[in-house]
């Protein structure tokens, strides 16, 4: 079949789809991009078997057809072309591009050999606000584990129940949980574990357009419909560990401190912290937080005192400075609350300001202060 499109239009779609082309693979067909025409639409798609990206461009009427073509070469040719209309001719086993003066031919692999991409079933689609989704992802994804021996933790847990939804991520040392009430979900219940790759791609793509995202929860995959572009990912097998049990109950050792002050201080501490542990010590006394760190290799030491609200007993506790900064970065409002137990139990960190219908909480496990 034959059709013609402006270069910039194809290129922007191809660019999106390129995100799913793997750099190295055991299945050669995966370095190809699928081109499919049907119902007066051109569909471009690629997958690395984790994430799939599909983009559609409306066409005038055209015949049905499909072929996979080497993605890199296709993309590079398009990129180098001047702005013009490109005529594309797909045959059974090759593609021909005609632009202004030149013709470019590439041979492909039959579409039957390409993995079957997930089917977008619009009937099951649920609309979620893109900004809500982006916020939830950003506030949890940093805590996802990279440890392959605990596969369930390699993704973000996404729980939906009725109108509420919640995302959780943990690597065993820290945990982030965000729940939103009264979203547009209707009576959907379920737990899925989503690999971070697709979520990262999603926030990258949603940021540009603050609109609603269609989500389809499948049995084996999740699909995000962004209109012209569709993202899909395989899910991780559960079960997710019972994270509720590790969230400590209320504690009397509560410290309230200014977020800006603390962030600056921890940053400065981390410069002279032990390069392996990044340990920064929090010494809590009445209304006073003393931070300290030491790097014996450098012969460096740092100490800083901050005013805070604290009435509990004196407590010394160590944290990985970069973990603390990760959390502080995601918290909103001027003041943050640390709810602490002992020097080896989880610290609960949240923002002083409560937002209606939103609940965000981080847990951080301390570093042992021994030595």
């Amino acid at each position: 079949m034959k059709f013609s499109l402006p270069k910039s239009k194809i290129l922007s779609c191809v660019q999106d789809v390129m995100n799913a082309i793997p750099t190295r693979t055991t299945l050669p067909v995966l370095s190809n991009m699928l081109l499919e025409t049907s119902n007066s639409k051109l569909k471009l798609a690629a997958t690395d078997l984790d994430v799939s990206v599909m983009a559609t461009i409306p066409l005038g009427s055209t015949k049905k057809g499909a072929l996979t073509i080497p993605a890199r070469a296709f993309y590079d040719i398009l990129r180098e072309l001047p702005e013009c209309d490109v005529e594309i001719h797909l045959t059974e086993n090759r593609i021909e591009l005609k632009a202004e003066r030149g013709t470019y031919k590439l041979s492909g692999i039959p579409a039957e050999e390409y993995p079957k991409l997930p089917i977008v079933n619009l009937a099951k689609e649920i609309k979620i606000s893109g900004s809500d989704l982006g916020k939830m992802i950003k506030k949890t994804i940093f805590a996802v584990s990279a440890d392959e021996t605990r596969p369930a933790l390699n993704g973000v847990l996404w729980q939906t129940s009725g109108k509420d939804m919640q995302m959780v991520a943990t690597d065993g040392h820290r945990l982030a949980r965000i729940s939103l009430k009264n979203t547009k979900l209707k009576g959907l219940h379920g737990d899925i574990i989503v690999p971070p790759k697709v979520l990262n791609l999603l926030i990258k793509m949603v940021e540009q357009e603050d609109e609603e995202v269609g989500v389809i929860f499948g049995e084996n995959n999740i699909i995000f419909n962004l209109g012209d572009t569709v993202l899909a990912s395989r899910l991780i097998e559960g079960p997710y560990p019972n994270f509720e049990q590790v969230i400590p109950k209320d504690s009397d050792k509560k410290m309230v401190v200014n977020k800006e002050f603390l962030t600056g201080a921890v940053r400065r501490m981390s410069i002279l912290a032990n390069t392996l542990t990044h340990q920064v010590k929090f010494s809590l006394k009445k209304d006073n937080l003393e931070l300290s760190s030491a790097n014996f290799d450098l012969g460096g030491e740092a100490k800083e005192s901050l005013p805070c609200d604290y009435v509990g007993e004196h407590l010394d506790v160590g944290y990985n400075a970069s973990y603390v900064l990760d959390v502080l970065k995601q918290l909103e409002g001027d003041d943050v609350v640390f709810e602490l137990g002992t020097e080896v139990s989880a610290g609960k960190i949240y923002s002083m300001e409560k937002k209606e219908g939103e609940d965000y909480l981080c847990l951080l496990m301390p570093l042992r202060l021994a030595e």
Partner: protein
Amino acid sequence: MAFAEVLDQKVPKKILCGALRKNFLASTYLFYGDQGTGKWAMALELAKAINCEKGQREACDACSSCLKIDKMIHPDVKMIFPVPSVKSKEKDSKEIERYKKLKQEEPYTIVRFDRKVNIPVEYIRTLQREIHLKPFEGKRKVIIIAEAEKMHNSSANSLLKILEEPPLDVNVILTSNDVNKLLPTVVSRCQQIRFGKIPTSIIEEKLMEAYHIDKEKASYYANICNGSYGKALDFLRGEKENLRRDTVDLLGVATHGKTSQIIQMVNQMLNRWDRNSILEMFEFLVSISRDIYMVQEGSYRLINSDMASDVVKLSEKFERQNKVEHVFRMADQIRFDCQIRNASQKLGLLSLCLKIKELSNREAIIP
């Protein structure tokens, strides 16, 4: 090609079909037996049956799942096999493509590399992540690891972690030519299925059908392949002719030559052929000494019928039958020692040749 196309192997078929029928597949299978007896073919068939879109208990060979598995491009059926360890990733994937292509053309093919091969630990490590993802398009994920004994300790230990707690929608199939070299902890976590030798008549028939050769030739290959269709194909393709020629030459030197010549010849052989070929050389020695015995008994139903004249010549060198029998036994024993007990091939081959020299009738050549 469905189970019917797998040559013989009635017992494995019965076990697997039964398990499929009752929906009671083991999460891990270990197919073990000689090279070229159909372990790979059976593993493919099982993967197809598990994922066939028709949902029958056997592959339909028509749906896209079956076709993709046949082409080895199904995203949920991972196939891992040993490749020569190379530094560059490019070469690596070239070797994989070659392996796949050969196995795709003929699943019974015995794929050989000119270098030492192993299953790199990275393959198993990526598996570890992938098996915890839900299937991409199929019903279940299937992992086939061919020649699993070619895993290093680190690979085997990584695999062990997968086998300890496999997700429910995964089936792992290991195949192995030498189950003794697998970690016992791996073996104990598998349902083991033994693949026996394929009857000569079945190989003969299949060769005639698939390669359109006449009965005489087919029966000759079927006889010398020792129950392995894969090896029969090797002979058919003439890949073993040189090795057999060399074996007969070696026997010639062992019966005629001086000790120094024998040593020289043995060294030559070891330089020319790799470990596996030397093992096969022992097998030839066994089959040729069997033929010599037959000639002395007055029978001409030889395995190596194409070498009849050589065999007759050699038979004149041994005066009494029990001497040939001695050679026969010793060759078999040394083959076993080299393969299983890690004996030195050089010493094995040399001592066998010197024994042949001692047993052969030296006077006969002097006149």
